[in-house]
């Protein structure tokens, strides 16, 4: 029995008036996948230095309805988080990504109740690192790893993301390059494969326009997305 797969591929080839691609034609397409070329990229972030990129990112995060805090070092982060929670009238407890466990010194914020792991839906607030931050549109790139579980990005009502200045890139394509390089280095990439289970591009807090097209924050994911940009 000819499988559905064969029939669909056969139908495509019949409509296109050719057989399966082989030889040079196929080689050219394999090449296109193996060494992805960049298409037209908007000028918006071209030529920006590190400060320029950070400024562009902060502006775009604001447009996407994030709140932003800029700090001079990682050591300041726990204190600033505690202050933000207090200002927003939120409980002084949170769950942090395992990846941050060594880096954030919570003794600076002794009143905070901190657990480490993924979220189970009962937490108010999560703190995560990001893989990259795209200045072009104020978009955070988060990838799933054992130390950065995806649940933290969606289940709590408030999501705090810690961005290091060195992680800020211009266009989305630069974030893809960074991801490909990291996966190759880790020995997980075979010709572009080896993506993590999930790559989340997040631009602002959750929202919906489904009630008479009026934008309302906090549909299913976090109501607040607070970004702390750390100068490293």
């Amino acid at each position: 029995m000819s499988s559905a797969r064969d029939q669909i591929l056969g139908s495509i080839r019949k409509s296109l008036g050719r057989g399966a691609l082989e030889g040079e034609d196929a080689a050219r397409l394999h090449q296109r996948l193996a060494t992805p070329a960049r298409n037209l990229i908007p000028d918006r972030t071209a030529g920006l230095d590190r400060d320029g990129l950070a400024r562009q990112l902060v502006g775009k995060l604001g447009e996407a309805a994030c709140s932003v805090d800029e700090v001079a070092s990682l050591a300041e982060v726990p204190g600033r988080i505690a202050a933000w929670l207090q200002r927003e009238n939120l409980p002084a407890r949170l769950v942090q990504a395992p990846a941050l466990a060594g880096g954030l010194d919570w003794s600076q914020a002794p009143t905070m109740e901190v657990k480490t792991g993924t979220a189970d839906g009962s937490e108010d607030t999560s703190v995560t690192p990001v893989f990259a931050a795209v200045a072009e549109t104020g978009t955070l790139m988060l990838v799933s790893e054992a130390s950065t579980p995806t649940g933290l990005n969606f289940l709590p009502e408030n999501h705090i993301a810690v961005v290091r200045r060195s992680q800020v890139v211009g266009p989305l394509e630069d974030a893809w390059s960074k991801l490909r390089a990291a996966r190759t280095e880790a020995g997980t990439a075979a010709a572009g494969a080896g993506m993590p289970r999930t790559v989340n591009l997040i631009t602002g807090p959750s929202r919906t326009g489904d009630i008479e097209q009026r934008i309302q924050m906090g549909a299913h994911g976090p109501r607040r997305l607070h970004v702390i940009v750390v100068d490293d």
Binding site: A4, R5, Q7, I8, L9, I12, S15, L16, G17, A20, L21, A26, L29, L33, P36, A37, R38, N39, L40, P42, R44, G117, T118, G121, T137, G138, S144, E145, A146, P149, T150, G151, N153, F154, W176, A190, G192, A193, M195, R197, T198, V199, N200, L201, I202, T203, S206, R207, T208, G209, D210, I211, E212, Q213, R214, Q216, A219, H220, G221, P222
Partner: protein, 482 residues
């Protein structure tokens, strides 16, 4: 889904009389159109990106078999399974089998037009599996037992008052006197109701905006985060996608993403764009245990190589319907099947046949706004004309239309006879209508005068006036003042 496209005329008539619907449709202009205009003005490269997006999709469609095979290889490497399905029935059975193997009682669903196309919800219900829609708009219309009326805003036809009634009826465990007025009230209530459902679900089903051949990833684009919870918390993640969703690389997806959200909701990026590749890894703390991609053809492979191939570039942004005067007047349900508006008027006859949906390509004023806003530069009016031609050739057009068209072509191909007849008509109507300036009724024109007056001609045809004016200009009297 059962089509009612055959009764488009009656559907449209009812829609025009429906005061509640007309009020709901009034939000389109201030919402989608204005936001899109603003965000596009802020990106000087937008027009050039449209060309690039079109070229990427054309390249992909010309090599569709190759890219689908590569996509499948990568999915398999990542530990997932691709299921090739020719028909809606095959897709439904495949999904049911996955659900049964997991003893699924409830499945959560992210928004998917392909799931609508294959009639998935009814089928699951008939097999004792409860589908739970999680997109707020989809959740509302599921409570109302209605199909979506818009491809990205499925409940755009519903007003707040109607939703309040639905919520009070279905959430009967809550205080009946609670406030349901502001969008916040509805959003909070649905959020709370759906939270538990995510955790209970055995299987999470989402659609896909893109499939990436380079990596074997499926991509969803949402603002609510519901699709992400659906795939994160279900024990198995099933993606339903039609085969033209594939693009070669992550960079190609980046380009088209710059077009998608801007054209759809007027955002630079939607809140959540998520790339999913395979099931959870051995050391991951969360994520689904299984990853399936149900890849649907349903007539699309046969569209390649025809005058309708370009329709397969569509990225489902809904800009065409958001700018369509016909859609704005009658809403999405009148179109009678899954896809409304200009893209539906072309796609529906392609998928379910011109016999069933021949009316839809006629539901157009041919103003061309759909093509002018389409981020993938799909020539929608041209394709609607192709379908009109097909409808006529197959003898599907009604008798009066055929007779009228023959009469017209007889006249239009005989210039002097045409000038004589139209000149006479203009003089006669001009003489009769001079006093009132308009006709309330006219023999053989009831279709027009039944709903509006016909302005009376001034007594001369356009041809005659044009000739006079050209003559005047040549004599130097300056007719047009250019």
């Amino acid at each position: 889904m059962q089509s009612t496209s055959r009764s488009f005329k009656q559907n449209a008539h009812h829609a025009l009389q429906d005061a509640t619907l007309q009020r709901a449709l009034g939000n389109i202009k201030t919402g989608f159109q204005e936001k899109r205009r603003q965000v596009i003005e802020a990106l000087p490269e937008f027009e050039a990106l449209r060309d690039t997006g079109r070229d990427i999709k054309n390249h992909t469609l010309a090599n569709l078999d190759f890219y689908l095979e590569r996509f499948e290889e990568r999915v398999t490497e990542a530990g997932g399974v691709v299921h090739w399905c020719r028909t809606p029935a095959e897709a439904r059975e495949t999904i049911l089998e996955i659900c049964k193997r997991r003893n699924a009682r409830t499945v959560t669903k992210g928004k998917s037009m392909i799931a609508e196309e294959i009639g998935l919800n009814e089928f699951l219900e008939a097999n004792a599996i409860e589908p739970v829609e999680t997109d707020l708009g989809e959740y509302i219309i599921q409570l109302r037992h209605e199909p979506p009326s818009h491809i990205i805003a499925p409940a755009i036809h519903v007003t707040r008052e109607q939703i309040a009634d639905d919520f009070r009826r279905h959430h009967s465990d809550l205080d009946p006197n609670r406030r349901l007025e502001e969008p916040r009230d509805f959003t909070d209530e649905a959020r709370a109701k759906l939270r538990d459902r995510y955790f209970q679900a055995d299987v999470g089903i989402t659609g896909a905006n893109f499939l990436i051949a380079e990596t074997g990833s499926t991509v969803i684009v949402t603002n609510e985060g519901n699709g992400d919870m659906t795939q994160l918390l279900g024990k198995a993640h099933v993606v339903v996608a039609s085969l033209e969703k594939v693009v070669p690389t992550l960079d190609d997806a980046a380009t088209i993403l710059r077009l998608l959200a801007r054209s759809a909701t007027g955002q630079e990026m939607s809140v959540y764009t998520t790339f999913s590749t395979g099931p959870r890894r051995a050391d991951d703390l969360d994520g689904p245990e299984e990853f399936h991609v149900v890849l649907l053809d349903n007539g699309r492979s046969a569209m390649l190589g025809t005058e309708f191939q370009e329709m397969l570039r569509c990225i489902r942004c809904a800009a065409c319907m958001n700018h369509c005067p016909v859609y704005a007047a009658v809403g999405g349900h009148a179109y009678g099947w899954v896809y409304p508006g200009p893209m539906g008027a072309v796609l529906t006859p392609s998928l379910i046949g011109v016999e069933e949906a021949g009316h839809l390509p006629n539901a157009s004023t041919f103003c061309g706004r759909c093509e002018s806003v389409c981020p993938m530069r799909i020539p929608l009016p041209k394709m609607m004309r192709h379908y009109r031609t097909r409808e006529y050739e197959r003898g599907l057009a009604p008798g009066t239309v055929r007779v009228g068209l023959s009469l017209w072509s007889f006249l239009a191909t005989r210039p002097s006879l045409y000038r004589f007849v139209t000149g006479m008509a203009a003089r006669t109507l001009g003489a009769f209508g001079r006093r009132a300036g308009r006709f309330r009724s006219l023999p053989m024109a009831g279709g027009w005068t039944g709903v509006r007056d016909l302005p009376a001609p001034e007594g001369k045809t356009f041809h005659a006036l044009w000739k006079e004016r050209q003559g005047a200009e040549r004599r130097g009297n300056g007719g047009t003042g250019r």
